[in-house]
């Protein structure tokens, strides 16, 4: 079959000693940098871009891609170990992953994350190889009304995310939405809620907000306890590795997450983030005992991690097949390709099949390498956790702050981090969870932008949201999920009323 032949060519190119070396280098660098809280894949790739100028195109792309996935894997590690998401998609992993770490099950969490991601990566690669162009064609069908409905769906799932009070979760999503609107309004060009501060014209920066609300609050809370956290670290292999029970509980989540991620990754915008959040929601909904979520449910790690890695793979599809970058990292890859003299797009597949298939093959190789790199590292990370907290937390704090400042050397960034740390602290004292707020923050502005744009194009006619098949389907799904959420609540309160 054609695909197999192409893959053979690809593997031939990717398995050269040189390219294997670059793949390894990229994966290592990516992992190490991904583990540093604050510095994510984008600044890393941008930083290392010049190194690739001298290499030949395939090698440089392989290395950059390696950095990308490496950073994803590394980002999951910090989410689990220290409750600091490496990047947006790992936020969900903090919810149950960090709880597992606190219970001494860090090894299991890391292991499941790595294995799930590997599986998802393999599937993602197959997707690209076999279904690249048709999948891209679907993504091209999305117009503004469809994006709007997708965002609405995403926001509703945010409410399901919460393991506490639903009302508070809704409130947090709405607050996140409001925060997301700070900045310049695309449709009219005016600035909203910027108080004359220039640095806010492009909106509140994601990194300071997330690190402030998740990372710093975590540190302060730990320091508040009468005794500093001491994770029981056992050297038994059993605790460094997912148990058979863990596998049994999580393999279905991995499958579902992979499916979700592969599909959502193709869509420009928040593909990987949406995938991770959606997977968490799905797992919580189908679980036999949803109350476990938020307290260390392994499906809460397995599903989202697989989802975000699958999305990371398939997000290459629009770039490689259509020449359209679906997120900032892909835009960077596109820049790298252009510098190498390659025009990304469908021409690449036909005119330079060795490049296209070589990249696809190296994606799989990269995932394998990352698995091999990360599994032994689990032991090291777990040992690291046993460093006395009083020595650990200043280091974590320092890396976070450096990461934030290095990305944008402005004192305002530091101030923002502090503001959100205090805000997050207050919220936690009142039992409000930050995760729904972040999702609202990411999806909200996109939702509003597409809503208003759809109405401008349709000249004010709202029927457009139901006319388009994609939009109508997504809205129907949303209604369905709302019903699923509300029904148990109604039943619960009816039972309570009954008992009285």
């Amino acid at each position: 079959m054609d695909v197999l032949q192409n893959l053979a060519t690809g593997f031939g190119a990717a398995l050269s000693l040189n390219n294997l070396g670059f793949c390894l280098l990229g994966c290592l660098l990516g992992t190490l940098i991904g583990v540093l809280p604050g510095i994510g894949p984008i600044p890393t790739i941008a930083m290392l871009l010049p190194i690739t100028f001298g290499l030949d195109p395939l090698s440089s792309l392989i290395m950059l891609a390696g950095i990308y996935y490496g950073a994803q894997y590394g980002g999951s590690t910090t989410s689990i170990l220290v409750n600091i998401p490496g990047e947006a998609a790992s936020i969900v992993t903090t919810i149950d992953g960090h709880q597992m770490a606190k219970q001494g099950r860090a090894g299991a969490a890391l292991g499941v994350a790595a294995l799930g991601s590997f599986f998802a990566g393999c599937v993602g690669t197959v997707f690209i190889a076999a279904f690249g162009p048709p999948l891209a064609a679907i993504a091209q069908e999305f117009n503004s009304p469809d994006y709007f409905s997708l965002m609405v769906l995403g926001l509703v799932t945010a409410v399901v995310l919460a393991h506490g009070s639903v009302i508070k979760a809704i409130g947090m999503v709405l607050v996140g939405l409001l925060f997301g609107l700070v900045g310049t309004d695309v449709n009219s060009g005016v600035t909203r809620y910027t108080f004359g501060v220039e640095e806010l014209w492009d909106g509140i920066d994601f990194l300071p907000m997330v690190i402030g609300m998740f990372g710093i609050v975590e540190i302060v809370r730990n320091l508040e306890q009468p005794e500093l956290p001491r994770t029981q670290v056992s050297t038994k292999l059993r605790d460094l590795w997912p148990s058979l029970q863990d596998f049994k509980e999580s393999w279905r989540a991995v499958l579902r997450g992979t499916g979700l991620g592969s599909l959502l990754g193709i869509l420009p915008g928040g593909g990987a983030v949406l995938a991770a959040f959606a997977s968490y929601t799905l797992e919580k909904k189908v679980a036999a005992d949803p109350s476990r979520f938020g307290k260390g449910a392994i499906e809460g790690v397995a599903g989202p991690e697989s989802a975000n890695n699958a999305a990371a793979q398939t997000s290459f599809i629009p770039l490689l097949t259509l020449g359209l970058p679906s997120n900032a990292i892909m835009a960077l890859m596109m820049g790298a390709m252009i510098i190498q003299g390659i025009q990304p797009g469908s021409a690449v597949m036909t005119k330079r099949p060795d490049l296209f298939w070589g990249m696809v093959a190296s994606m799989w190789i990269g995932n394998l390498m990352l698995l091999i790199i990360n599994l032994p590292l689990i032991g090291i990370w777990v040992k690291l956790l046993s460093v006395p907290y009083r020595l650990l937390y200043p280091a974590i704090l320092l890396f976070c702050v450096i990461g934030i400042y290095a990305t944008n050397t402005n004192f305002t960034q530091i101030v923002m981090t502090v503001v959100f740390a205090v805000f997050g602290y207050i919220l936690v004292k009142f039992d409000c969870e930050p995760a729904p707020l972040v999702l609202g923050f990411i999806l909200g502005p996109l939702m509003e932008e597409n809503l208003r744009r759809s109405l401008v194009i349709s000249r004010g006619d709202p029927i457009v949201f139901l006319e388009r098949p994609i939009s109508a389907t997504l809205l129907a799904l949303t209604v369905g999920i709302i019903v699923l959420i509300v029904l148990p609540q109604i039943r619960k309160s009816r039972e309570a009323a009954f008992q009285e």
Partner: protein, 325 residues
């Protein structure tokens, strides 16, 4: 002979002056003795950032020092502009940015970040590039005239996409000259508008050359015209809007800029580096792929360009009725 106090002071003053001048010259002579920073106004990973990093990389062997790219993002480039204007004028802070954007900032904002004429100097220009009028490749419009006729028919049911101030102005100038009633739909970035152009909801777009050319190569969009006053070597077959009866000269140009007060020898040195880089075939190819031509000007010519653009953009902003932020 007794040296009077006055003579002593005068002598000392002269010596001090001489050493100061000499020191400046000496500084210019051993420039660069430290790492140099290229300031980029856009975030790591954006198209602009790629351009800045490309030049940082190419400059390294010529300059023989590490070049650090510093991203000072925000407010459409204002934050970076302010940072550069306040930096020490010693040649170690170089702003690689669109000269047009710096010029436009004087009119686009109620409180412009810097006073261009006073605070910043062009050391070297890098490229010049157009904005482009694009339509769906599947559509029947083969020329701007075709499009204009159809848009006149469609009246206010027509829509067009823009994603940047230059695009908005280009669109406005076209509308005004031809008396169109098309409605503008603003997007965050050009790729966001692609799906809607292809599904027919949007009739045409005024977009940056990187996007336009990439999509034209893919066969999805057709470029009908460019916004510069004269045709470009990079895309010699594309007519200018001016040729087609819609006079305009919206030429985007990138430059290396330094804070005012940077000594002339240093400015000239920076100028030489960029001339060297921009003159290579490799850079020419690189710039062409972004739809632009290499553009070489003396620092004085570059500065004149900047001042001319300040005036032009004042007119444009008024014409397009863009509300200063």
């Amino acid at each position: 002979m007794q040296i009077t106090r006055k003579q002593f002071m005068r002598g000392a003053g002269a010596a001090a002056l001489a050493s100061a001048v000499g020191a400046r010259d000496a500084r210019a002579q051993d420039y660069p003795s430290q790492d140099i920073r290229f300031v980029c106004a856009f975030p790591a990973g954006s198209g602009a950032d790629v351009l800045v990093r490309y030049f940082a990389e190419k400059a390294r062997p010529i300059v023989n020092r590490t070049i650090i790219v510093e991203n000072k993002t925000g407010a459409g480039g204002n934050i970076a502009a302010e940072y550069v204007a306040r930096a020490k004028p010693d040649g170690y802070t170089i702003f690689v940015h669109a000269g047009t954007a710096v010029a436009a900032s004087q009119s686009l904002f109620k409180k412009p970040p810097i006073d261009v004429a006073r605070d910043i100097r062009v050391a070297a220009t890098i490229n010049r590039q157009p904005f482009m009028l694009v339509v769906d490749a599947k559509s029947a419009y083969k020329t701007v005239a075709d499009l204009t006729a159809a848009m006149k028919q469609k009246g206010d049911k027509a829509s067009y996409a823009t994603a940047a101030p230059t695009g908005r102005i280009m669109g406005e100038l076209y509308r005004l000259k031809e008396g169109l009633k098309a409605v503008e739909v603003v997007y965050r970035s050009a790729p966001d508008s692609l799906n809607e152009i292809l599904s027919g909801k949007i009739d045409f777009g005024m977009h940056d050359p990187v996007f336009s050319l990439a999509q034209a190569r893919e066969g999805r969009l057709r470029v009908l015209a460019v916004s510069t006053g004269k045709r470009l070597d990079a895309v010699p077959d594309l007519p200018t809007m001016t040729e087609l009866g819609i006079p305009m000269d919206l030429t985007g140009w990138w430059a290396a800029m330094v804070p005012t007060g940077t000594p002339k020898p240093i400015v000239d040195k920076i100028h030489q580096w960029f001339v060297q880089m921009v003159s290579t075939d490799e850079t020419k190819k690189f710039l062409n792929s972004f739809g632009g031509d290499p553009y070489i000007n003396t620092p004085e010519q570059g500065q004149a360009l900047l001042e001319r653009d300040v005036k032009d953009w004042g007119d444009y902003v008024r014409l397009a009725k863009i509300e200063p932020m």
